[in-house]
Amino acid sequence: MTIFSLVLYVLAGILVCILYYYVSNFLLDFFTKKNSNYSLIRAFIFIAPAFIVLVIFILYPVFETVRLSFFDKFGREFVGINNYIWAVNDPEFRRCILNNLGWLLIVPTLSTIFGLVIAYLADRIWWGTIAKSIIFMPMAISFVGAGVIWKFIYDYRGPGDQQIGFLNAIVVSFGLDPQAWITIPIWNNLFLMAIMVWIQTGLAMVIFSAALREVPKEMLEAARIDGAGELKIFTSIIIPYLQQTILVIWTIITIVVLKIFDIIVAMTNGQWQTEVLANLMFDWMFRGGGDSGRGSVFAIVIMIAVIPVMILNIYRHKQEQKI
């Protein structure tokens, strides 16, 4: 396809989308003469496309997943809760839960904190845009690229051989023995988490950057004139104002972490006790022909794991309704 036809194709797709809203609202106004009794129809127009997409792309696969979790590996024979019973007794599963807990506690927290701090600091400094771009860069690199980058950091060669991993090079220059970082149980999880924090802080920072725009300038200036220190402004004004956004970002990163498996596959493939639920799900789903029954169980566990986060968000939402 030539560039010209591709451009036309792209524009056509976007135009169809915009036109739907424009035309349907136009028709509604035309026929009802802006009578507000028909606002329900308008609501319907607004949500219809998204709702259809939601049902097809999200709800249907979820129901399929739930259904498959009660069937055998080929999805043909009903086996009741056998898959669940097997999962509960599987030692790999238990280790995954522990690992996931660790990931969930550390990565979203650190990324959110770092993201907020960096977004706030970068705002007020003349080289802020450059700083933000550098923090953002890891997000722009695909997971494959991130895997290669950190291979050059964590790589291990035998003692006496030339190190090509940055961390080992530093360690060796201090006279210590190089370590095979990603194979050390427990600690290797932290090393992998460092990669995730390195990447996700950019996401937090980008969203906080936009959210910080909404903090009223006057409030900040007034506080400064009153003599409040920067730290006090940060803790007493910025953080409370952005509470909802903090929760949203923390939620999103938590969920990204729950779903993550690319980095782990690239660095350790779940070996050396680093495996997480999403790895298990992917392995059972696709390796060696796949066992859709068991893969689905893990998918469901992941979905269940997010319920506390979900409840928290809905609680907040209800709270702000009351204000």
Partner: protein, 379 residues
């Protein structure tokens, strides 16, 4: 004032620490992409910034290249096939002792012939009798190698057949896959924030719950639907609109969630005032909400674009792997191949692929302007 300067310096220091920590890994990748591919798996990337000592093995020419001067048979040549500025310091003729001789020293071989190597790689091998070696002899050298960079890797990746097309394909996938969700989800998010309708809260709860649906579970059921639809209308199940909708679907929850957060935090009074004035929700949305949400749109545009640009799995499953549809991530993976020594393609490919999302990030920076909201809150 003094307090301000002090806290400003502290702020800058903290930021600097973060920036340095963050950039080292990426910097390593950047340097690696300019390195000779044979070196990538052998020495650390920081070594290419300084002059280092390297050990190499070369082979002399064989008997077919010998010349005769008077009664002596000579083979001579330069060991390096490309001049990279290496300076040899010592050499050896057996793997058991690679530094046996200094440059210009004469090495005597078992068969009585003499070999000597110079600093620039020239070697001269003299023998009283004609050479009978079918294969050249190995010479081990230790040399100091100055910082050396090459554009070979970039040439290999950028000008390889199909890469340019893959770029275009990925743009064709990414742009609608970012704009369409933004459009659909912004209307949706607005409705969830400011419109009253039955089941609104339940819908919101479903959105939050669906944030976590793993993509991999959806692949097979969705592709089956696509195949069924394709069979029904006799079109291919793998096409651009198909992948646009797939990305919209997978990004729906996050995009809606984020947009709703932004739209909800806009001042309630503005919207109420407009309703009282008789504006429909559509007018409010297009004339008030949209302009105010530009920073939000910008940040979500970047994130969704990014995610689609770097995606591999969805592009593999919902598009055919033919040159007119293959995306850049899949193309780069194809280049990796079953060959070894492919770190140079990975490093260079990652950088080349990164330029587009970064460019978008820079371009959208100016939309992070402050004050659109602040100014309208008065009163």
């Amino acid at each position: 004032m003094k307090k301000n300067i002090f806290s400003s310096i502290i702020a800058q220091l903290i930021l600097l620490v973060f920036v340095i920590l963050w950039i080292i890994p990426t910097f390593g990748l950047f340097v690696s992409s300019f390195r000779d591919k044979d070196l990538l798996a052998v020495s650390g990337w920081w070594t290419s910034l300084i002059t280092t000592e390297v050990n190499e093995i070369h082979r002399t020419l064989n008997k077919d290249s010998q010349i005769q001067e008077n009664d002596i048979y000579i083979i001579k040549e330069n060991l390096f096939d490309k001049d990279k500025g290496k300076k040899i310091t010592s050499f050896g003729i057996t793997s058991k002792n690679i530094n046996q001789f200094l440059i210009e020293e004469k090495a005597t071989l078992k068969d009585g012939s003499e070999l000597t190597v110079s600093e620039n790689g020239d070697y001269v091998w003299k023998s009283q009798n004609p050479f009978k070696n079918k294969n050249g002899k190995r010479i081990f050298i230790t040399a100091s190698s100055p910082p050396n960079f090459t554009l070979e890797n970039y040439k290999e990746v950028l000008f390889k057949e199909g890469v340019g097309q893959a770029f275009l394909n990925t743009l064709t996938v990414a742009i609608p896959s970012t704009i369409i969700p933004l459009i659909i989800c912004s209307f949706f998010a607005y409705a969830l924030s400011w419109m009253k309708f039955f089941g609104r809260d339940t819908l919101l709860a479903i959105i939050i719950a669906s944030l976590v649906v793993p993509l991999q579970m959806s692949l097979i059921p969705l592709l089956s639907i696509y195949n069924d639809i394709g069979a029904l209308f006799n079109v291919s199940s793998k096409s651009y609109p198909g992948v646009w909708m797939a990305h919209t679907g997978f990004g729906l929850a996050t995009t809606t969630f984020l947009l709703r957060n932004f739209i909800k935090s806009l001042p309630h009074e503005m919207i109420e005032a407009a309703r009282v004035d008789g504006a429909t929700h559509y007018d409010i949305f297009t004339k008030i909400i949209l302009p105010l949400s530009i920073p939000a749109f910008a940040s979500i545009f970047i994130l969704q674009f990014l995610w689609v640009w770097n995606d591999l799995l969805v592009g593999l499953v919902f598009l055919d792997q033919v040159p007119s549809e293959i995306i850049i991530t899949a193309k780069l993976r194809e280049l990796l191949g079953s060959r070894g020594e492919n770190w140079e393609i990975l490093t260079t490919g990652a950088f080349v692929s990164m330029t587009v999302p970064l460019a978008i990030f820079f371009l959208l920076q100016k939309y992070f302007i402050r004050g659109l909201v602040a100014g309208s809150v008065k009163g």
